[in-house]
């Protein structure tokens, strides 16, 4: 397509943190009506670049032009004034306020009064234009993740954004929601808005974007002018600098059932409760749990991890019935757990990495005796795992929060696998990770499977589930509506079951 005058242009942007060059001489431009893909592995500098554009960081060198005019963007307010809106991975919404109130935050009203009528009219207009409808009076806490993201997009448009930056918007969405997002984005582009789409998922980038910029080690590693006709492996090579081959799953050789759930139900609580869930996972088997998020996966993970006690039903691990549900008892029976949310339920970001790595087992003889911790053993354990898993960090005493997502996930994996769990429960194991890191995690799961470990993978990425799992169970409204051998499963069939179409039999 012919390129009209750019909406936004970044020229020669460089930004360093200490000795680390996060961005080096990056050029990038977006034309009106264009969807630009921004690709790169974790730590390639995508987020830093977008934070420079959105005013969170001042660049060390380079300039930003908005419609041909050089501007200084020193805050998010400057960015908004220049017509740049950003939808972060973690939403910035006030959960107790309504949709409309969230939209009106920071918008000057008329003579000190909130302009409710005007806000409603704008919201309805944006909804009509792009198919982004929202109930203005619902509190944000009642919205699904997809709706919250829609609200973030509407918020940016409400403030007059002509360029929208989306940082991994599909990481939190179910496949059906992704389609809705894409059609909204296409509609916005058709009406002359510019969009920067950051993602790890190459098939999405190929389906949606008009042009791509690939970053590697802070520099532009390549530009793709026709993403739709470029293969995923070509793009992956640009991102990583080498070929990426997906790991092959060996033949199934499952042993006896190691984890069984029999008629597990939970009572109502925040989120979907479980209703009469029975499943079993055998040794050397990977069971995938598919489903649109919010259909009971969280409760399932919490019950298996011992955090939530079920109201009815029985759970056994390696033949032993779990009589008291607590994280320490199921752990003692041989359960390992990779949490969905690394930062909130996995790690302690403000303490040294080593502390997080021994957290679940601090009371065991490996790391303490008579109430005294063994600092040398803890440090040695962390150092050994950092080496074994190639966790990139200055050392075991580094603040955990300073590590990238992929390295944190490796650290969590190392912490659980070091003790040879009989059962491993993982949720969204590669969310937000780049291809290289995801590949590493997948290989580890398959290694564990070959060693006879039972693994449950809860996820929304159906391609990943199909690649890893021997069998896939689908959850809908707190029940398991069906289980397929992965040889019989397809994305289309799973997608149908996820809407509750099959099952209830």
């Amino acid at each position: 397509m012919s390129t009209p005058a750019p909406l936004i242009e970044m020229r020669g942007i460089s930004k360093s943190f200490g000795a680390v060059k996060a961005n080096e001489a990056v050029d990038l431009s977006v034309a009106p009506g264009e969807i630009l893909g921004l690709l790169g592995e974790n730590g390639a500098g995508k987020t830093t670049l977008m934070n420079v554009l959105f005013g969170a960081y001042a660049p060390d060198a380079g300039e930003i032009l908005v419609q041909g005019r050089s501007v200084a963007i020193n805050s998010s307010a400057d960015a908004l004034a220049a017509g740049i809106g950003m939808v972060h991975q973690h939403f910035h919404l006030a959960p107790r306020l309504s949709v409309l109130e969230n939209l009106l935050i920071g918008i000057p009203g008329r003579s000190g009064r909130i302009d409710r009528a005007g806000g409603l009219a704008r919201l309805a207009e944006i909804g009509r234009q792009h198919g982004l409808t929202l109930d203005p009076d619902l509190p944000v806490s009642a919205l699904s993740v997809g709706e919250q993201q829609r609200l973030e997009i509407v918020k940016a448009l409400f403030r007059g954004a002509r360029l929208l930056i989306l940082d991994e918007p599909t990481a939190v969405l179910a496949p059906t929601e992704v389609d809705g997002l894409f059609s909204a984005l296409r509609s916005m582009a058709a009406q002359g808005l510019g969009i920067i789409f950051i993602s790890h998922k190459l098939n999405e980038v190929r389906a949606l974007t008009h042009r791509c910029v690939v970053l590697r080690h802070g520099r532009v590693a390549g530009r793709v002018d026709a993403p739709a006709s470029t293969t995923s492996s070509e793009m992956a090579r640009l991102m990583c600098g080498h070929e990426i081959v997906p790991p092959a799953r060996g033949p199934s050789m499952p042993g006896a059932a190691v984890l069984t759930l029999d008629g597990i139900s939970t009572s109502h609580h925040s989120g979907m409760a479980l209703r009469d869930v029975s499943l079993s996972v055998r040794g050397g088997e990977i069971l995938g749990i598919a489903g649109v998020s919010g259909n009971g996966q969280r409760a399932l993970a919490e019950v298996i991890s011992g955090v939530r006690a079920p109201d009815a039903g029985k759970m056994t691990i390696a033949g032993k019935t779990v009589s008291r549900f607590s994280p320490s008892t199921v752990q003692a029976l041989g359960l390992g757990r990779i949490p969905e949310d690394r930062m909130t339920t996995g790690l302690v970001t403000n303490l040294p990495l080593a502390d997080s790595m021994v957290l679940p087992r601090i009371g065991t003889a490996a790391f303490s005796r008579n109430g005294l911790i063994k600092p040398d053993a803890i440090r040695a354990f962390a150092e050994a795992q950092i080496k074994a898993y190639d966790i990139r960090c200055p050392g075991p005493m580094t603040r955990a929060g300073a590590l990238s997502g992929g390295n944190l996930q490796k650290a969590l994996l190392a912490r659980e696998l070091a003790f040879d769990p009989k059962v491993l429960i993982v949720s969204q194991p590669t969310r937000g990770l780049d291809i290289g890191a995801a590949r590493f995690i997948h290989e580890k799961f398959l290694d564990m499977r070959a060693k006879g470990c039972s693994i449950i993978v809860i996820g929304e990425d159906l391609e990943e589930l199909l690649m890893l799992s021997d069998r896939i169970a689908v959850m809908y409204e707190g029940r398991i509506v069906g289980t397929l051998d992965s040889a019989d499963a397809s994305i289309a069939r799973l997608g149908l079951m996820m809407t509750g179409a099959e099952g209830h039999a």
Binding site: A58, T344, T345, V348, L359, I362, G363, I373, P375, T398
Partner: protein
């Protein structure tokens, strides 16, 4: 134009530099008040310094005053590590003072009396701290509010005691009966008030450091404070950790009261603590919640308090300046803590 930018890491020397920066800023800010009171700034600070740290007697007086603040500072530091917001060290101190005074008034051999006073005071402080901790764990009551308000409850309970059953029937003053002479803490240096409790406070700091840094309880306290969800998923009983922290914190604050009764006043009266419990918060923050840092921080505040009285006599600047310095030091430290998370960067002017 300047702006704040997020830091990725905090250099280690900040632990020392930030409190010094805060103290420096405090002294500069407060010099305005001294000038306003019509005194010379250099002279006033000079008197303050020489009266608190200028000779060996002054130093012992400062240490005697630092001892209760070391205990309350440790109490607050331990509690805040677990994010148990114990603002109630003052009430816990008073409870410790009353309990140790009651025990000290019973005739028995001196060493036994001192030991039992310490145990009773620690237990009383722990019991008081248990109230806000239990309310928080069982009913999700905000611990800042409950622990703070309990200070008034225990202050007026103490007043009721010394205006009522403990009132001196002979003089009619609202002071408790004195403890037995044998229960008085021994003075370590002839001609000074440097008593055994001061040594206990100086020993307590490294002990508490060890508990926080090297025991599984300390590990659980740190992890629970930084991320209770990760702690819970990791198999730590978060509620139990909060209760243990409260007991430890309350016991330390109670010991501050024991030292005042056994080593300084030998009885209980309404002004047994000039706000040592609240000063403990300033001490803990200046120490960045590090138990070892509590000692110099408490000595600094004690020097300010001791020095302020002498400065007042010599220059006419009201001794209340010491309260102003304490308050300013806390605010300056809180402001300085900003630099652990952010750096200041110079940027070009906005368009």
């Amino acid at each position: 134009m300047f702006r704040l930018e997020a830091r990725t890491s905090t250099p280690a020397w900040f632990n020392l530099a930030l409190p010094l920066l805060a103290i420096g800023a405090t002294l500069i800010l407060c010099s305005g008040l001294i000038a306003l009171a019509g005194a010379g700034v250099v002279e006033a600070y000079g008197v303050m310094f020489s009266a608190s740290l200028g000779d060996s007697y002054a130093i012992t007086e400062t240490l005697v005053r630092a001892a209760p603040m070391i205990f309350t500072g440790l109490a607050v530091a331990v509690a805040f590590r677990a994010k148990f917001w114990n603002i109630g060290a003052e009430g816990q101190l008073l409870a410790g003072a009353v309990a140790s005074c009651a025990v000290g008034a019973i005739p028995m051999p001196g060493p036994l009396a001192m030991l039992l006073m310490a145990l009773a005071g620690a237990a009383a402080g722990a019991a008081v701290a248990l109230i806000p901790a239990t309310l928080r764990v069982k009913f999700r009551v905000d611990d800042v509010v409950s622990s703070l308000l309990l200070n008034s409850v225990f202050f007026y309970a103490l007043m009721a005691l010394i205006e009522g059953p403990w009132k001196d029937s002979f003089s009619g003053y609202p002071i408790s009966p004195p403890i037995e002479d044998t229960a008085n803490f021994p003075v370590l240096l002839e001609g000074t008030r440097l008593h055994l409790g001061v040594v206990a406070a100086l020993v307590a700091a490294p002990v508490i450091w060890f508990v926080v840094a090297r025991t599984t309880l300390g590990f659980r306290i740190r992890v629970t404070g930084e991320n209770p969800e990760a702690a819970r998923y990791g198999g730590i009983n978060v509620e139990r950790v909060l209760i243990s922290t409260a007991l430890l914190s309350g016991a330390l604050a109670g010991l501050a009261g024991v030292g005042e009764v056994g080593g300084v006043h030998f009885q209980v009266m309404s002004d047994i603590s000039p706000g040592y419990g609240y000063s403990g918060i300033v001490v803990a923050m200046l120490a960045r919640l590090n138990p070892l840092g509590v000692v110099p921080a408490a000595i600094f505040l004690a020097a300010v308090m001791t020095g302020a009285e002498a400065m007042s006599r010599a220059t006419g600047v009201p001794a209340f300046l010491s309260d102003v310095i304490q308050g300013t030091a806390l605010l300056a430290m809180l402001a300085a803590l900003l630099f652990t998370a952010y750096r200041i960067r110079r940027v070009g002017a906005t368009k």
